[in-house]
């Protein structure tokens, strides 16, 4: 499964046009979310500047069998703009927090994108024909002089250069007091939920003027606040189930059939804290930054600061598997706290068959863990190691004082400004998208391409 990873498309600098390796980028170019659609044909990225860029996979061409499957820019649009809340005197960031695709039901594609406060539904459609031969208008669109029209013609659809049109179809606003961290489309394809720090709302995709509050953990007195919601997701198959994670490291599975307000959970997944590992920062590092259902719906994948855990929905007492992502940071927590890195929120992903999990780390490293063979690999997303068709070399971080091999990186030389927070895995194939600050890397399993 973890065969050598090949660079499919070398780093696509989505928004910075500078080719030099040390070109500076603006903060607006930082990618904040990455998401494949349900077929994997399209890949959407959102950035801090409120823009969305959609990539499309080129169909395999028989003439050039090895250039199959490259992703090229399909469309770019401005999804959110910075706003100002006059009542609270607060600026609302335009950064795109999450993008979720709707399953395709007709020729057009739909996606939801959200910033801290507002969710928008976008329609992405293609236009490759245009009508020609109007009677009252000429080729440039000017009104013809009626006296010059001697005969009537029927306008004909003629092919034109492909144009991708994006239009906002719905705007779901004013439903969140706190910052939205997640959106999730329900398997009924009619509803979706949005979660902020303290509340989760249920929306109907066609109705923008109201939503239903399904979880509310705001205490009567805010001074009693002990935990917040960090992520939420609907079950992929059961439209009545959803899960949300908390800053205390717990997961709650809720059933919408039980009550209108799902404050009472159906299941609570919590691992008892190891008292010997207690430190000043125990609360921070146990906060769950991402939660994902497996494609089967049987398992949950969570990420906290140092580990990734796989939970079985049928076992609440402890996770099924725990993977150490970068345990060598455990002794560095104090300095990571001072430079703010301890607050970084890493995402995690399943592969299509739920046999491999992936998550990001620092120094532009990302890690994959094979659940069956228990093998794991550390790879780097960087310009230097990512020429097209190159094979990525596994990397190793040696803990301080450990045996050091050639090419190993020591913990102290890790670059903590280069963090991979957002990763995505193609729903069916071994193709992964890695967001490294302002760059997007797309890698493919070498075996995958050789088979074609």
């Amino acid at each position: 499964m973890l065969s050598p990873i090949q660079v499919l498309c070398s780093d696509i600098t989505t928004l910075s046009l500078e080719p030099e390796p040390f070109a500076s980028y603006t903060e607006a170019d930082i990618i904040s979310t990455v998401e494949f659609n349900h077929t994997g044909e399209l890949l959407a990225t959102g950035d801090k500047g409120g823009r969305v860029v959609i990539f499309q996979r080129e169909p395999e061409s028989k003439s050039e069998p090895f250039s199959q499957g490259e992703y090229n820019v399909y469309s770019t649009f401005q999804s959110h703009e910075p706003e100002f809340d006059y009542l609270k005197s607060l600026e609302i960031e335009e950064k795109i927090n999450k993008i979720r695709w709707l399953p395709q039901q007709n020729a057009a594609h739909f996606l939801l994108s959200t910033n801290d406060k507002t969710i928008k539904l976008w329609k992405v459609s293609e236009r490759d024909k245009r009508p020609e031969g109007y009677n009252l208008k000429d080729e440039e669109g000017r009104i013809k002089d009626v006296s010059t029209v001697t005969s009537l013609q029927v306008p004909v659809l003629k092919p034109m250069d492909l144009m991708v049109e994006v239009s906002p179809r719905r705007v779901f606003a004013n439903a969140h007091t706190y910052h939205i961290n997640s959106i999730s489309v329900n398997s009924d394809y009619e509803t979706y939920m949005s979660a902020d720090d303290l509340r989760i709302n249920l929306w109907h995709l066609d109705i923008t003027d109201r939503s239903f509050n399904i979880v509310d953990i705001k205490p009567a007195n805010m001074e009693d606040l002990t935990e917040v919601i960090t992520a939420a997701e609907f079950h992929p198959l059961h439209c009545n189930l959803f899960v949300y994670s908390s800053s205390k490291g717990t997961l709650r599975l809720c059933d919408m059939r039980e009550a209108a307000l799902c404050d009472k959970h159906s299941k609570l997944f919590e691992e008892p804290e190891d008292p010997s590992a207690r430190s000043f920062f125990s609360e921070i590092i146990s906060s769950v930054s991402d939660v994902k259902f497996s494609h089967s719906g049987r398992y949950l994948l969570t990420r906290d600061y140092l580990t990734a855990k796989v939970w079985d929905l049928n076992m609440e007492s402890k996770p099924l598997e725990t993977y150490q992502v970068h345990d060598y940071l455990r002794s560095k927590l104090c300095s990571l706290y001072e430079n703010d890195c301890i607050f970084d929120k890493f995402e995690c992903a399943w592969n299509g068959s739920d046999s491999v999990i992936m998550t990001g780390a620092y120094n532009n490293f990302f890690r994959m863990f094979d659940r069956n063979t228990k093998r794991d690999v550390t790879l780097e997303a960087s310009r230097e190691s990512s020429k097209p068709r190159a094979v990525l070399k596994p990397r190793r971080v040696c803990a301080a004082g450990g045996k050091r091999r050639k090419d190993d990186i020591s913990v102290d030389s890790l670059d903590f400004t280069k963090k991979i927070l957002h990763t995505a895995w193609h729903p069916n194939e071994n193709i992964i998208a890695i967001a490294a600050t302002n760059n997007l890397y797309i890698f493919q399993d070498k075996l995958n391409s050789e088979m074609h």
Binding site: E93, L225, T230
Partner: protein, 149 residues
């Protein structure tokens, strides 16, 4: 005490981060503020716990000057009684300064005049707390000016 110094540093950093988050773009981040508050609370608890243990340890050492084992155990017993009584004071940060002074007096065995003993690291007032001295001087100044009129 290493733990105490680290706890103090963590608290200072947390306060700095909480303060700067107020001016951050996008408004107050609830999750981050909550985590910082939790870290600060646990650091504060550990800091004060470390303070009381160092103070009771110092008191034990003071009593050990007459090198009688029996006397030290008795003395440490009495000092320990004083320890818990002062914890409610320790809980209020503002009183820490005055409290440290009380502990000092107890250590010295109470000479009638108030000696300004050079404080050790452990009993020094936390320097991230607002200083009360300036206010008192101002009050004394205004009092004297009123008197003249």
């Amino acid at each position: 005490m290493e733990v105490s110094a680290e706890a103090k540093r963590i608290m200072v950093v947390a306060l700095g981060k909480l303060y700067s988050s107020r001016t951050q773009r996008g408004g107050l981040r609830l999750h981050r503020s909550l985590l910082l508050t939790l870290v600060m609370k646990s650091a504060r608890d550990i800091y004060h716990a470390a303070q009381t243990t160092t103070e009771s340890m110092e008191e034990e050492r003071e009593e050990q000057q007459p090198s009688e084992v029996k006397m030290t155990t008795e003395a440490s017993g009495t000092q320990e009684l004083q320890g818990p009584a002062s914890l409610p004071h320790l809980a209020a940060d503002a009183d820490a300064q005055g409290d440290a002074q009380n502990q000092d007096d107890a250590c010295l065995g109470g000479p009638p005049h108030h000696t300004r003993k050079r404080r050790g690291k452990a009993t020094a007032e936390p320097d991230f707390l607002p200083c009360k001295k300036a206010k008192l001087d101002l009050v004394s100044l205004t009092n004297s000016s009123v008197k003249r009129n």
